[in-house]
């Protein structure tokens, strides 16, 4: 093992380990502020410049809050229930954080320093980067179960079981909507997928891409346990779900893992549908692509926060029904539409296309605008009708409520 390899590995990983936890701290503050404003509150605004008596006077909108939270978490008492499985109780938060951190490597963010290192260290250059992403994200489920089981608390266990059922179910629409992009590009390589969308050929600007993005985003919300799919930690029903028995630093690790997973899955959505680091001005200033990537991630996270402030939590049966009876058929139908549209657009030319080039761009460049408009309307109409039908079918048959004493 050469020194250069070690240096390259460090150059590739350490900045990620520094940047994203910092962004995490900022995001918690952003979320608290945004939720507060949605509820007509002010939100954190007290913690200011640390270690000064008048720190609170210069509070800068409470930007010191994440730091104060972090210090508090570090020094809080670590409580382990008496009957808990001590080893697993310790391992679960670590296991929750590691996969989330690991998948960050698969995001094709073109940091300026990354061009100087060898290709074998760039994880997103891996041929199967996207499938690795999904494989490693799936490990999160185990951590959640581990935490729920090790705590020896019925609420924790309930939360853990709910989390497993939810994550396993929503992984399927998630992967199936990503399959469309893989189909279009003909590669699982994250960097290639991002490059294929250069020049505003983003996948969200195709009808099936738009539908896939919406399905992907909904499934991603469920995968990261965000509201309205936060059943595993439904505080009004099962206290805090799987991390009921966690306190102090272990809790902070769970929290960190959850937010990093949010970044990671938003990053994948950006890679797959929103053109990666593409954006205006990138051609002139290459480092702008990093900024664009992060801006897109934050735009998605802002929508997640907005949704959290808006929607109430689902019931368990609604949750599972939504995944299996609504999202899954829709995403399969979407794949079917995308495939047929591909053949329709290409006509007989599919054999004549360059196999090594992304099919999508070749199609987009040579397509008649009328045909494209027809495809948009046709595809979205089919999907909308199907969604409506599924909605009617999958709606639970509930007797209308009778009000005995209301009148």
């Amino acid at each position: 093992m050469s020194l250069e390899l070690i240096r390259d590995i460090l150059v590739a990983t350490v900045p990620l380990l520094l940047i994203f936890p910092t962004l995490f701290a900022f995001t918690t503050w952003l979320e608290r502020k945004a939720l507060a404003r949605i509820q007509n509150r002010i939100g954190p605004n007290k913690v200011g410049v640390p270690l000064t008596r008048y720190g609170g006077r210069f509070s800068l909108f409470g930007l010191g809050q994440p730091m104060a939270d972090g210090i508090k978490m570090l020094f809080k008492e670590n409580i382990v229930p008496r009957d808990a499985d001590r080893l697993f109780h310790l391992l679960a938060p670590i296991l929750a954080l590691i996969p989330a951190m690991l998948v960050l490597c698969f995001l094709p963010i073109d940091f300026p320093w990354i061009n100087n290192i060898q290709d074998s260290v760039k994880a997103f250059m891996l041929d199967g980067a996207v499938i690795f992403f999904f494989a490693i994200t799936g490990l999160n489920t185990l951590a959640v179960f581990m935490a729920g089981w090790a705590s020896r608390n019925k609420y924790s266990l309930l939360g853990g079981m709910r989390a497993i059922a939810q994550m396993v179910s929503y992984e399927i629409p998630l992967v199936l909507s990503a399959v469309i992009v893989v189909m279009m590009v003909g590669s699982l390589n994250a960097a290639e997928i991002a490059n294929a969308q250069a020049g505003w050929n983003w996948f969200i600007f195709t009808p099936w891409g738009l539908a896939a993005f919406i399905i992907f985003f909904i499934a991603a919300l469920a995968e990261t346990n965000r509201s309205p799919f936060d059943l595993p930690e439904a505080e009004s029903e099962i206290i805090a779900g799987y991390f009921t028995e966690y306190s102090g630093f272990k809790f902070a690790l769970f929290f960190l893992g959850e937010y990093i997973a949010m970044f990671a899955i938003s990053g994948l959505a950006v890679t797959l549908f929103l053109g990666g680091g593409a954006g205006p001005g990138v051609a002139a200033l290459p480092w702008l692509s990093v900024i664009w990537f992060l801006v897109k991630i934050f735009a998605l996270i802002a929508v997640m926060i907005w949704l959290r402030g808006t929607l109430p939590r689902l019931r368990v049966d609604q949750l599972m029904g939504f995944a299996w009876k609504f999202l899954l058929p829709l995403s399969i139908l979407n794949i079917f539409i995308a495939g047929s549209a591909l053949h329709l657009l290409a006509g007989g030319r599919l054999a004549g296309l360059d196999e090594k080039q992304p099919i999508l761009r070749q199609l987009m460049e040579g397509a008649n605008p009328l045909v494209v408009a027809g495809l948009w309307i046709g595809a979205l109409l089919i999907l909308y009708v199907a969604a409506n039908g599924l909605n009617q079918l999958s709606r639970a048959k509930v007797r209308p409520r009778e009000y005995k004493y209301a009148e």
């Binding site: 945004a34 404003r37 949605i38 007509n40 007290k46 402030g309 929607l311 909605n391």
Partner: protein, 236 residues
């Protein structure tokens, strides 16, 4: 048929309106920086808050937006323990749903506000971190000794002892009660006075009746036993 998923967008529009509006319309932001004293910018309906530390609000409603209501013990005079109304009957301790009251009865009796020898609470603790402000103790107290206080700024850095109020913390004068809840206190005092008056009238009537009865009896006895004065002497 309404648009599929349209409800979500409607809800999101509402929250967006709230989000943006909270920056532009002051009357949307009904909350206040709770740890700083409110400024005049506070909207009118936000509720009253003491302008200075320790100031007591005159408040006719029992609840303001900022106060917390926990029980207190009443006394009638300047020396709290001499005129304490509580007689340590422990009814409130038994009735308290979260069981946050702890009373220890004194061993000997002592003169209370009415001048009668009574037991008094040697210990009377309320854990206000457990108390749920249900006022059941107030309702069950037969002596009007426990009523609801209205306090601001209860927070404490002491994790275990700080929210456990002792007897001496709980003792408040009737004047204080009149100050914070004037109407309620007046009504209560009026009722106590009425009850007392009724009791006294009843007592008087009873005494009168007893006196009359005794007189009658004495008369009858005198009539019956004119010949036997020894017995009457014994009876007396």
């Amino acid at each position: 048929m309404s648009l599929l998923g349209g409800g979500i967008f409607k809800g999101m529009a509402v929250t967006l309106r709230n989000f943006v509006g909270s920056y532009f319309y002051k009357d949307r932001l009904t909350t206040n920086d709770y740890s700083w004293r409110p400024s005049d910018k506070l909207p009118q309906h936000a509720g009253e808050y003491p302008k200075e530390e320790g100031e007591q609000l005159r408040d006719t409603t029992t609840v303001t937006n900022y106060s917390r209501n926990f029980p207190m013990l009443l006394h009638d005079g300047s020396e709290p323990m001499d005129t304490i109304r509580c007689v340590a009957c422990q009814i409130c301790e038994r009735e308290c749903p979260p069981q946050c009251i702890y009373i220890e009865k004194s061993t000997e009796k002592k003169e209370n506000a009415g001048g009668k020898p009574q037991f008094y609470p040697a210990k009377f603790d309320i854990d206000v971190s457990v108390c749920m402000s249900c006022q059941i103790c107030v309702e069950v107290c037969p002596f009007d000794a426990i009523v609801m206080n209205s306090q601001f700024e209860l927070s404490t850095p002491d994790r275990f002892g700080g929210l456990l109020l002792r007897r001496d913390d709980l003792l408040k004068s009737n004047d204080y009660y009149h100050n914070i809840h004037p109407e309620e206190a007046a009504a209560r005092d009026k009722r106590i006075a009425e009850e007392k008056a009724a009791k006294e009238a009843k007592k008087k009537a009873a005494a009168e009746a007893a006196r009359k009865k005794a007189e009658e009896k004495a008369k009858a006895d005198a009539e019956a036993s004119e010949g036997t004065p020894d017995i009457q002497e014994d009876a007396e």
